[in-house]
Symmetry: D2
Subunit: 461 residues, 4 copies
């Protein structure tokens, strides 16, 4: 297993990555991108076991619903790149499970890849969303045929891949890019039905990063994102060669969706887990700031807090139900219940912005206009800040100031905007989430109950 330091060193492997118009030659030392690398490094250290042959717990698939439930809190302790690595591997193995049944794809390559990833303790990011061009048209109907990632050449040793994958969390921070086709594909889309693992430093890979991290000289008034943020990558594959043992699907478009569905499930259960914690975190902020403001006893404040509490509780109920009703496949893999996972994901995404509105309504305008830590330290203004940021006695003004900073950082600045939009868009937007939830509901049982109630024996000819 790698140490954090070894991980940081491994990032200087020749990868080609950009930030706001400039190439980043050394990620760990970059003023913005460097902090994110520390998060993944810290997870390496937290889980490090120096014994030879030791394996990270998060690289090993759970084998029972109990295993799965135990893993959720462990995952919460990891950084997002490590969580994505877990999700990518689980999705790959779930896909292997389904491909094996169908006799399709390259199951041996998948198992071999998983084995090696486990041994080398690498990090893997999931690359699924294509550039898509005109989104009203299929991959094979685009003006530019590269709007979806595709195979442009094949030989015995491997395939050559061209295209781009967008919104790739932590793309510059892993070792491999797990490329998967986007959802269902029709028979004519064979070249677009490609799943494979590509090293980040492979020739032809270029990554343009974007970030919600704060800028400026002194970012101490961003208590969360000053140290905890993760750039997204716009990943370009400019005729990248992929050897056979890293190709998991090539052609067979009827199986293209297997990857996306597998990934979607693991991504959403991770999402629900994070959303639940986040909803509870927002309750905590709301309660603390109402306390500091001296307003815990006011009726309309209690009302809004209660709605935030019920929201957090219903998300946790969805998570609990998804785990208690986890499914074990014939091959012994376990995965969370699809219906509860998707319904909870939808509930969380659809109501998030209202919960933020409640939090802002509880906190008041200082969430936007509170002075900075610099103003607190400046002797010309420090006294003013302390005197006039004081809320109810007992809570130091500085604490109230820091809670305002934290609320703004989480919900009313760049990260807040990224978070709000990501909640809605991850997993394909609210429309896609409605469809997936509908597909897993037992509609026949509901119809039968309704027919019995209406006194109808035979519904249709």
């Amino acid at each position: 297993m790698l140490t954090g330091e070894e991980y940081l060193a491994s990032l200087n492997d020749g990868r080609v990555t950009f930030f706001e118009g400039e190439e980043v030659k050394n990620i760990p030392e970059h003023p913005v991108m460097g902090t994110a690398a520390q998060l993944t490094a810290a997870t390496y250290d937290r889980f490090h076991n120096p014994e030879p042959g030791a394996v990270n717990l998060l690289m090993t698939p759970p084998r029972s619903p109990g295993d799965l439930r135990d893993l959720i809190p462990v995952l919460s302790e990891a950084d997002i790149v490590t969580r994505v690595t877990f999700g990518s591997l689980m999705a790959l193995l779930t896909a292997a499970d389904r491909l094996a049944e169908a006799g399709a794809g390259h199951v041996d390559a998948i198992l071999g890849y998983h084995d090696q990833a486990k041994r080398t303790d690498i990090r893997i990011t999931e690359c699924i969303t294509d550039a898509k061009g005109d989104r009203g048209r299929p991959p094979q109907g685009q003006t530019d045929p590269d709007a979806y990632v595709r195979v442009v050449d094949r030989c015995d040793e491997g395939v050559v891949v061209r295209g781009a994958k967008l919104h790739i969390t932590g793309a510059s921070y892993g070792h491999d890019l797990m490329v998967m086709p986007t959802k269902r594909m029709s028979a004519e889309a064979g070249d677009y039905s490609i799943a494979c693992a590509i090293p980040v430093n492979a020739p032809g890979v270029r990554i343009i990063n974007s970030s919600y991290a704060p800028r400026g000289e002194d970012v101490r008034h961003f208590p969360h994102t000053s140290h905890d943020h993760m750039p997204d990558g716009f990943v370009v594959f400019d005729d990248v060669f992929v050897p056979r043992d890293r190709v998991f699907l090539d052609g067979d478009p009827q199986y293209a969706a297997v990857f996306a569905h597998s990934l979607g499930l693991w991504e959403r259960i991770g999402g629900v887990s994070q959303m639940t914690r986040n909803a509870e975190l927002l309750v905590g902020f709301a309660h603390l700031i109402a306390d500091a403001n001296g307003l815990l006893g006011v009726a309309h404040i209690k009302d809004k807090l209660a709605e935030m509490i019920i929201h957090a509780t219903m998300l946790r109920a969805g998570l609990e139900a998804a785990l208690h009703n986890a499914v074990v496949t014939p091959q012994g893999f376990v995965h969370p219940n699809e219906l509860y996972t998707n319904a909870a994901k939808y509930q969380g995404a659809a109501n998030y912005s209202l919960m933020v509105r409640h939090l802002h309504d509880i906190a008041g305008g200082s969430l936007l206009t509170a002075p900075t830590i610099g103003d607190l330290e400046n002797p010309q203004t420090g006294g003013d800040v302390r005197k006039y940021m004081q809320g109810r006695s007992g809570v130091p003004a500085e604490n109230r100031l820091r809670i305002f900073h934290a609320i703004r950082d989480h919900t009313a600045d760049a990260y807040g905007g990224w978070h709000a939009a990501t909640n809605v868009l991850s997993g394909g937007g609210l429309y896609a989430q409605r469809i997936v939830a509908s597909n897993h509901f037992d509609i026949e049982a509901a119809r039968a109950m309704a027919l019995a109630d209406a006194g109808i024996e035979h519904w249709s000819a």
Copy 2:
């Protein structure tokens, strides 16, 4: 155990009960009130066991979370009076549990009463909401001191009770009225702190019934409420004597709330279970009518169906979480988790009217204007009805007609109105439900998470 027939006979015990201005001398033979009695009679028959000493499963408290989970589907098979009986007894035993700890109330009387109720297989309705007079004032601050039920006299043999209890489901259909004080009471409210069991036919008890049951000559276009409805009672206690062995609390206002909290919990878990089934039933209706209308493939119809499906799924998740996290008390009683129960109840109540709006939007205007079964049978109009109520081929026009009837009966007529308002109001209105949910949330954990995120070690002096 009683048979259904014995139950029906037992209702003619001299009870004084009224319907729309007239005394009802014989409930089972009354044109409106009689159908409801059949429901409870049918449950007696379904659970009947002729062996001497046999006991109804629903009279026996569950002893483990597993027991409780197994009971939920059994409860769903019972009529509402039987379900209320179960809830009343569970609440009474939960209260005994808490009173025993405090050394308050008459725990022996409770246990003795439960034992006897089990043996005699009676039905019990819960009487909690007082008339309340000016709702801005406490019991002891009213112009009329009887606005809340109170003890007006005491002797060695028992107490004399005066007042009224409102919105009592099935009050005229049980054998005993379980009187409990309404929530918290202050020290001056001693005479209002009264819990006891009063026979329906006790001298001084009068019940005024109200009902959402359909009227008119031919109610076959009400497929549900023509046979399934339950009157509510406005129950008057006109100086009713209650013997000591039926008095569970008298005075000790600091324990008054124990009964209400116990009852609230059992009432709400029953409510969540019914709401979940109802949400699934509405999904069934929506899907059937979209099918009959030929609209299952239309995008905005699928959207609305998906929202109904997600709503039903989140309610079921809440129910699952409440049962999986059931609590066993030191005395060995089990009860559902308060937080999940209350959050799910709120979610169900708050969103019900939107789900009905979706159902109506999917169904279209014939849910209101579909002809009746009489019009279908009348040879002058039957052909017209069949011809012009025909939707997509394959589904007989009569089926479509009956689904429209069922949707109207459930959601757009007297029962629909009763159901919508009851969803919101049972358990004390949305405000009360917000408070109870808030009280059971682990706010300290949420604050701790928020403090850690904001980098604050010591919150307040």
Copy 3:
């Protein structure tokens, strides 16, 4: 002009109409259908002018935005059949305006018809929604070609019409049925493109009525619908002959939608006006019952009242904006602004059920379980009702009782269900209302503002 009495007499003209399986031989004397006839009769009397040649104000089209604004309160004083008559004639004249421009349809027949209707002071109901069969298919694609009303025969003197029109408000209470084609039609749907006026008593016309009116012996606890309700008609045209001078469009399917659009506009402005008054009425009920309950000072009650007030105010703002921005056509007709009318209609429909939820939450359970007037009059129970329905001192218990009755009658019984569903469905469901609003928005102006903000000069090639 007719008197109310003359109107009632005119209903016994041989029309064939049914109620719950039985033919109604005499509408004014029918126990349920008779009360509705009195409403229209009363409007006749209110507007009656015995001078020869006098004309009802509501039969005359407004000629300026001011005229139109003045008419709105007059309309509110009329019964619904008279309001529908006004809307039908305005729609017909608006359609004539548009057909004249296109040189299509039979404009002379329309003008002649309007002239005669004005002179004979008749009532006209609008027949637009077809039976529709499989709603996923067009008129000409149905298994039964009569699923949409169509011309089955033509001769020099007129046409023969077959089919059915559904949800026809007051169909049995007018003198003529104004038949119009439903929205857009394709070129192949020529026989379905038929607009004409058909006497209610024409041979081949049959009407099946449905109603939300209360039944039972004593309906005094329905303060509104006991005297104010209007049956809907399921109108069958069984090969009905229509003479040429009553045919307004026959064929020319490209103009079919002109009628529907004209009708939709007038129907919706009437709808917005009624919705606004209704929203204000519900505020009144909420305030009165909170007052009687002694809860006007409670924070969460005030919150819900405020949301109801804001809802009512925004509807009135929509109505004001639609009237202030009324459009005068080149021919001098005036009609309300389409965009504001449709947006306000949507706002009212989408939020109605939430406002009812607020009202119920404010009122409490007695809205469902309040005793009846019969219980109040019965000497055995009258004292109980007075004693225990007493709320805050000063408001008589009987007043509180009657407000509960009125709230239930308006929002939680058959009429409440009819009202809720009709709000959503009139004008074609929320989906249709979204489309119409979108079509009238100045999207180019919004795009130009966005382009300027983003600094883009030329958007597309």
Copy 4:
């Protein structure tokens, strides 16, 4: 009248103002604060009239509803500091109108001040929200008596003021700070009942600025806030002397609320006007990005667009109704209708976050992860950006990129967070807005309508 250049020079008047811990010695040259000054300078130039004695249109109060309607689009052309100046002066004059009636306050000082402000063409910012300390306690009940701004000394020449005002838009960009007491005050709060005008450069005034403006080297991917932003001020009054002719109220706490109410009205009508334009702007962005994505024809996209359109239309309807129903006071001043203004403000604030959710759901993830202009210009990545940001053919990739930037800048970054929270919080949070709207609704008319409907003649004793 001043030119823009003269305005910029006037800011270097010795004012003491801070930004992120450092004193700002020269506002126009400060890297962040300088851009905002250009906005106000540009408005000076736009309205400049070199004739001697010329007066800015926005310094002159409207005298008829027509005047007021004409002013609204003029206001939209001005920067926010100028708009605030207009609102402050209108509020001051409206207050004078009311004080004159009551014979309270210093009406002459107000009129004299207005006259001089008009002549010198200065900018004025409104200072209303106090630091407030423990918000559960009144001004006179705080541990620190300075938690609300108060008079600490008085002499014949003037008063000495101490305290702080928070969230002051553009505080560092005006010439005077218009100090007003916050809402109602009780009789004991005399020293807190102070309204006056204080020069920004008066000794003892210190301002700590906060800003949502973007930082970093290259902010061209912030098309709006890179040039359009306005810092908020945390304004400290450290024993500031105010001469008598600038004191408008001192003591007389029963009139303290007159200022807040007057200001609130003018602030909210400005807010509604801006919200309406902003809602239309978001519709424009949604339509452009759906167009560029090739998704304008997709059902669920059209649905979301339609909801945004209806939202924008209802806000405009509220604005129209507020202006059409403007009120002229006995003294000839005109102000917008309070009820419609407040209802529209609430509607806009309550639904804003949902509209942003719709916009994000329509746009997709590239609103977060689109590359920057720097990436577009870098020859290593420019081709990738152009190739893979291409949407439907016809719309250049760069345009799509810029629309994503604009959407992020407006709704998902620092300004988006500021905007969302400000929408809710300006005017005191949703709770305060509900109260104000309720206070201006004609509740008696609504009660009368409800009583008539319920058949009740006399409501209460």
